[in-house]
């Protein structure tokens, strides 16, 4: 794993050309140079050369949603996201992370606690307390908005039901990594994924021992917990019996790709192998001739938002569109800037609620400029960002994953 010091050459390489100003969703809202990559690198270079105390920088680096948009444009090829994560782990080691962030992350680090929360009040609802919000730096006056958004997340759209297979069982060893949201808060997407696969002759193996992918820990710089979770998840998989490791959460997917960087020895070897097997569900499904029932009468216009961690992180953007467009009864309409960050980014929507909401609002504007009545995406966190933006316009459009729409059609075609 690279430390901040290891990145000092990359940091110095920033030519300050400013191209990232065009890409950064945060700068668009703040207009402040200290809140995007060019400023971050200027500051980090200053700190590495003892012109600024390093511990002053956490506050600025926290503005980054880690959307990777600047990396796409950066002529010098510097990844703000990677460097910011390295800086955050430095801050974590120095003890410069708020207790509140640590305690939220602790929940994700522990499967037991996640289960407890999921079963009782629900993680999201637990996050609603004004105390949490204030500690995170957000505004408690916006609590209502947030509780509306998060309550919407817990309604289970697709309930699992065994479906009739349309073909013979395929000889594929496909392991499915559901991620925390599917596992503990709302299983709708998982149900849909399993049903769509089963219908098409693919059995998904879900390991009951899977824990959180570790992203909450890594995003606050708690690398040790991240590594522990990585090893734990790797241990759940029988490496001899795996052709695909399927994810539907954009972030979980990218995390499997990054495990090797954080591991050594045998674990690293295993992680490298699994990174090769890891595949987003739409990339996986579009390889097959997926059954499309012709039972839908009313046409629905659907648009799609590209999660940062799917399009830029895993180069998957055509497949979800291809998948959607093939579903009978769905007319696909592209929105403007479909790959612009939605503003949610994990805990960012709580910690930097003002900026997060402005970013979400721009997203919603582009959505509302289409004729879509259903929004789709492939990430639970984006679902929050999209709903947040829409509710700021008092619009209550449903946000689903493409697989949920197909599963729903299957259910209808089987008459339930």
């Amino acid at each position: 794993m690279k430390t901040l010091q290891d990145y000092s050459e990359d940091i110095y390489k920033c030519s300050k050309c400013g191209i990232c100003l065009a890409a950064c969703p945060v700068y668009e809202e703040t207009g402040n140079e200290a809140t995007l990559s060019r400023g971050f690198f200027t500051l980090l270079h200053g700190a590495l050369n003892n012109k600024i105390p390093m511990n002053k920088l956490a506050k600025y680096l926290d503005y980054c949603t880690t959307c990777k948009a600047c990396f796409d444009f950066c002529p010098s090829g510097i990844s703000a996201e990677e460097i910011i994560l390295a800086a955050r782990s430095y801050f974590y080691e120095q003890g410069d992370v708020s207790a509140i962030k640590k305690s939220i992350v602790k929940i994700f680090n522990s499967t037991l606690m996640l289960k407890g929360l999921g079963a009782s009040a629900g993680m999201y609802r637990a996050l609603q307390g004004p105390f949490w919000m204030e500690q995170l730096g957000g505004l408690s006056s916006q609590l209502n908005l947030i509780s509306n958004i998060v309550n919407g997340q817990t309604q289970e759209y697709i309930k699992y039901k065994p479906l009739l297979r349309v073909c013979d069982k395929k000889e594929i060893n496909a392991v499915y990594f559901p991620g925390c949201i599917n596992n503990y808060f709302n299983a709708s997407v998982k149900n849909a994924a399993v049903m769509v696969c089963e219908k098409n002759g693919i059995d998904l193996h879900i390991k009951s021992g899977f824990a959180c992918c570790g992203i909450p820990a890594r995003s606050i710089g708690d690398v040790q917990s991240f590594i522990n979770l990585a090893k734990h998840n790797i241990d759940q998989i029988n490496l001899e019996k795996i052709d695909y490791l399927i994810t539907d959460c954009a972030t979980c997917g990218i995390v499997w790709d990054t495990y090797p960087e954080y591991l050594e020895g045998e674990y690293r070897e295993k992680a490298l192998l699994l990174a090769q097997k890891s595949i987003n569900i739409y990339k996986f499904l579009t390889q097959f001739d997926i059954f499309m029932p012709n039972n839908i009468e009313n046409n629905k216009i659907v648009t799609y938002h590209d999660p940062c961690h799917l399009k830029r992180g895993q180069k998957v953007n055509k497949e979800p569109r291809e998948f959607l467009s093939a579903i009978p009864g769905i007319e696909f309409e592209e929105m403007k800037d479909s790959d612009r960050c939605c503003g949610a980014s994990g805990l960012y929507f709580l910690a930097k609620s003002n900026i997060s909401q402005s970013i979400s609002k721009r997203k919603a504007e582009n959505i509302l400029n289409t004729n879509a009545s259903i929004i789709t995406t492939s990430c639970p966190s984006c679902k929050i960002g999209l709903s947040q933006g829409l509710s700021l316009y008092n619009k209550n459009l449903p946000v689903y994953q493409p697989v949920e729409l197909l599963a729903n059609n299957y259910l209808h075609s089987e008459g339930s």
Partner: protein, 468 residues
């Protein structure tokens, strides 16, 4: 100078607080540190502004200017901060006015082919909006994704399309400007023709924020060309490429772009962004023609013939949008590729009469060799404007010193060939000390008189263009 001793910057800031929202006044050391730089490689020098402000309307800019004038504090305007001449460096500290929140496109007049935008509006955003209406704003600095209208007016920026369409200066009809005293004045107008007294709007164009702060700009638009055709042409010698350029123009063809890349540039692009660019040719031309579809296909054929007649080794005419994008990608990624070689890039901007391009390219190569520097030369052959990009590590003091000497020799070479210091990047702080190479003492004195009448207290971007 910084702030006169008797006044504390706190007083200035407390007055600014009466005018601006708290979130639009940046005073933290870390924030100011981010504004101590623009895209100019200045090494480890640190010129820290005292405060940065983000005004949201012209009225606020005027109020800020009044406060600055009262306390005689320098004011440096910043758009995207992407200039390469140290234009935004706060040499004497003071207030940075960042136009990031003055970025609206106010109106587009389809009937009269004009538009009005705020100074912080981004060039590409404007281009996209007018193109949706079938209109065209041609000036295209290669970083148009971020470059602001205010910054490009203040530097009179231009780009590849300048050969046919002209640069920013040719599109400015009128300006709203906040003066050093904090008055709001309107110069020029919104008509294409305008002969009413001194042409003050053109005086502000290229003035690098030293005469006033541009807050709104009225720009001329033209109809969007129906179609375009780009091609990439390779030569074994830069002389042949230059001859081809002259020959194309003498055939009464006016391509929208006549850009040049030298061997080292192509080699570097291919190294970092491989697109199958051959790396053994001495030079390549990127030529684009635009206009009515039938005409441009005839012109493209003509250009192909002319190039072969001038010993071109290969002419690649883009067959579709994908191939066209690839050619432009190779051209546009040239700067980025150079930036990946070593940590720093110094982009120079010499301009010579068009027929002197081969001599200038050779002079650049010779100077680079003499000082043992890596240089990739690209530029706008149609305008005689060359950008030698030196790739180096400024932490290597010896290399830095060699660069300084090379740059000075480069300017001498350009001037000797009948050219000048800058075609489009401006003078700023980087080239101020060379001004006397191109302007006589009388001319400089008139420039000082102009500066003095607009800015008697020398608070607008002091230390740029003219040094006392």
């Amino acid at each position: 100078m910084t702030v006169p001793n008797s006044i504390s910057i706190e007083e200035v800031i407390s007055e600014l607080k009466l005018v601006l929202d708290k979130k639009n006044i940046l005073t933290e050391y870390e924030e100011r540190f981010c504004y101590a730089y623009d895209a100019t490689a200045i090494g480890d020098e640190l010129y820290l502004p005292d405060v940065v402000v983000l005004p949201e309307n012209t009225e606020q800019v005027a109020q800020i200017m009044k406060i600055a004038n009262k306390y005689k504090v320098p004011v440096i305007t910043r758009g995207a901060g992407t200039n390469l001449c140290g234009g935004c460096i706060t040499l004497k500290n003071g207030i940075v006015i960042h136009t990031s929140k003055l970025n609206k496109i106010l109106s587009i007049d389809k009937e009269n082919l004009t538009c009005v935008v705020e100074a912080g509006a981004v060039v590409e955003k404007l281009q996209q909006e007018v193109e949706e209406l079938g209109l065209f704003y041609p000036p295209d600095p290669s970083n148009l994704k971020v470059s602001t209208i205010g910054g490009s007016v203040a530097l009179s920026s231009s780009g590849p399309r300048c050969f046919k369409y002209g640069g920013t200066k040719d599109y400015v009809l009128g300006l709203e400007v906040v003066t050093a005293k904090g008055e709001i004045i309107n110069v020029g107008g919104n008509t294409v023709k305008n002969v009413t007294g001194y042409n003050l709007s053109q005086l502000f164009v290229g003035s690098e924020g030293t005469l006033g702060i541009v807050t709104k700009v009225t720009l001329k638009l033209v109809p969007l060309p129906e179609s375009k055709q780009v091609m990439l042409v390779f030569f074994d010698s830069i002389d042949d490429a230059a001859m081809a350029v002259t020959d194309i123009i003498s055939h009464k063809i006016t391509p929208s772009t006549l850009d040049l890349m030298d061997q080292k540039t192509m080699d570097t692009v291919e190294q970092f962004h491989p697109t199958g660019l051959p790396t053994h040719y001495d030079a390549a031309l990127v030529i684009e023609v635009d206009g009515i579809a039938d005409t441009i296909s005839v012109q493209a054929k003509q250009i192909e013939e002319i190039c072969y007649k001038n010993n071109s080794k290969d002419v690649r005419i883009a067959k579709d949008k994908k191939e066209a994008d690839e050619i432009w990608f190779a051209r546009r990624s040239a700067f980025g590729a150079v930036a990946r070689m070593k940590p720093n890039v110094i982009t120079e901007d010499a301009v010579v009469p068009r027929d002197k391009i081969p001599q200038m390219v050779k002079a650049i190569r010779k100077i680079a060799e003499k000082y043992n520097l890596t240089v990739c030369t690209m530029g706008h052959a149609g305008d005689g404007n060359l950008h030698p990009n030196f790739s180096l590590d400024l932490r290597d003091h010896d290399e830095h010193e060699r660069l300084e000497k090379a740059v000075e020799e480069l300017f001498d070479a350009a001037i000797e060939l009948g050219g000048t210091l800058s075609g489009e990047h401006g003078i700023g702080m980087s080239k101020a000390r060379f001004m006397n190479k191109v302007a006589s003492e009388e001319v400089l004195e008139y420039m000082r008189l102009i500066k003095n009448s607009f800015d008697p207290n020398n608070i607008l971007n002091p230390g740029k263009i003219l040094i006392k």
